[in-house]
Subunit: 313 residues, 2 copies
């Protein structure tokens, strides 16, 4: 199995990408190979520095880079030899089983939509994020930013996508799906959440436990937390800021330590035909490594086939 990494993606690329790839390659010996994609003149010297450690890494040349500030759709179209475009082409061609990048999030989404494409039946793919649970384990929160505005049917599908991920990748049996709302009662919320509640309630593929509230993000009420991308993004960034504040105050606590994005490393795009993961712009080698390990887990679990089978019907 091969897992590809955009060696040019992230604020500290290519150094952090190469270092993270080497860490991940050690973890994945005998299971998967890492494929680094990037500009040879920048990546090759780093690989040479690492010498024997880097011997297991495969390298694919891509002459262009989509910068963080570029317009995603334009850049993706114009830079066909960028590391992101090359990565998606390899993913689409089946040459790699997952593609990870800490680069331009918008360009990663564009590639997901136009290269590997949404699974037939999925209205709109979602970006998922992981939430540490107070009593251990992880929950999954989606969407966190791919779709600011959502139709009720999209929220219903996010429940299905998240549930499949929780089951097949996180190993949660019969994951509980909750709808983020401003009150527990069925009739609460916006017209969108009210309608989504009714759809989720009768969906036969998931175990819907009803509305949950902001206070339930970290408790055990739901394993899968469904919301629109605007709300999910606000919650995610708020949680990140809490982590930063706690870290800046030198408060050390095993639960809050898990808020560190490095521990998971990336956010999968769910509902597309292959496995793609978007990393944080500030990704460290540890974050890159964990993103690659997550890519391996996704590929190994066959999650994208599970999604295809579910939405075929």
């Amino acid at each position: 199995m091969k897992i590809a990494l955009d060696a040019m993606g992230g604020d500290f690329a290519p150094q952090a990408a190469v270092d993270g790839a080497i860490l991940a390659a050690k973890e994945l010996v005998g299971k998967a190979q890492i494929v680094l994609i990037g500009q040879e003149e920048h990546v090759a010297p780093l690989l040479q520095q690492h010498g024997a450690d880097a011997a297991d890494l495969l390298f694919i040349s891509a002459s262009q880079v989509i910068e963080m500030g570029e317009h995603p759709a334009k850049a993706y179209q114009q830079k066909q030899d960028s590391s992101i475009a090359v990565g998606y082409r390899m993913l689409h061609a089946g040459e790699v089983e997952a593609f990870c990048s800490a680069g331009n999030t918008g360009a990663m989404l564009v590639g997901a939509m136009f290269s590997v494409k949404p699974v037939p039946g999925v209205m709109r793919p979602a970006i998922a994020n992981f939430v540490p649970k107070l009593h251990g384990g992880l929950g999954i929160l989606l969407d966190v930013g791919a779709n600011a505005e959502c139709k009720p049917e999209m929220l219903e599908q996010f429940g299905e996508l998240g549930s499949l991920y929780a089951q097949y990748v996180l190993g949660i049996n019969a994951p509980k799906v909750g709808l983020m709302n401003l009150g527990e009662e069925e009739g609460k919320g916006t017209s969108i959440t009210q309608a989504a509640h009714q759809l989720l309630k009768v969906n036969p593929h998931i175990q819907f436990i009803g509305n949950i509230e902001g206070r339930d993000l970290f408790n055990d009420k739901a394993d899968v937390i469904v919301c629109d991308g605007y709300t999910g993004n606000v919650m995610l960034k708020m949680a990140e800021s809490i982590y930063d504040i706690i870290a800046s105050k030198q408060i050390h606590d095993p639960f809050f330590d898990k808020f560190n994005y490095e521990a998971v490393g990336g956010s999968p795009i769910l509902g597309i035909n292959d496995n793609a993961i978007i990393g944080h712009g500030v990704s460290t080698p540890l974050a890159i490594c964990n993103m690659l390990l997550q890519g391996y887990q996704m590929a190994h679990s066959g999650i994208s086939d599970q999604i295809k089978n579910t939405f075929k019907s």
Copy 2:
């Protein structure tokens, strides 16, 4: 000046209400009197127990109670001698300058809408909440639940209402108004936040600093944080859960201590013709006391007249 308190409101009423009123009365000696409204058979014995301490409290009898679980509009209409209905009648008649209750939130909103009524020109009043800032002071977040769905014009008005409160009650000079969004760029967000951005940008009554993100809630970017009631409610309850988690872990920190709702005590309803504050259902005497002090501050500042003047034009 007289500040009224629903003696029957809250999970620990009337005990916590009476205890809180006595605390507040001591703080407000020579400035304001507290008026307790409730069932005489339950409140009078508590006042007698307190003896001299309770001598400064005024008491107004209300024979009925709107329970926490009751349908707000129905209960408000049917229980015309409830403590909440009596409180709003006194507020509307000018017999008290502010009315506070930790009781049924919906009934408090119904009373605000149908008894004292929205200020002419205000489309929909909002419930505001306070956010501790990392570098000291408080920010104001609105709406946190009165309006799950908002038109762009409502969000614009929330910016004005919050700005006036920040200026006249919190004493912040030229408060910075930020629009909660999923990205800083002007074009980001939902169609609602995009349109609201354009309205806020040209509003002459406020200092709009643009979009802010979930990570900016606690920093100094904005003093006034504008969002729809669904998003605000999710953020508020998430912050409350963070406080609960930190408290349960015996982590003590001056910043996170300020997350404690008791420190502020209640959420004002902004955009109505008088001063009304909704307290947390679990309000302790300290929370009740601080809610009453906030009621005094609102009345003393003349905030509702400032709002009327601003929206008259």
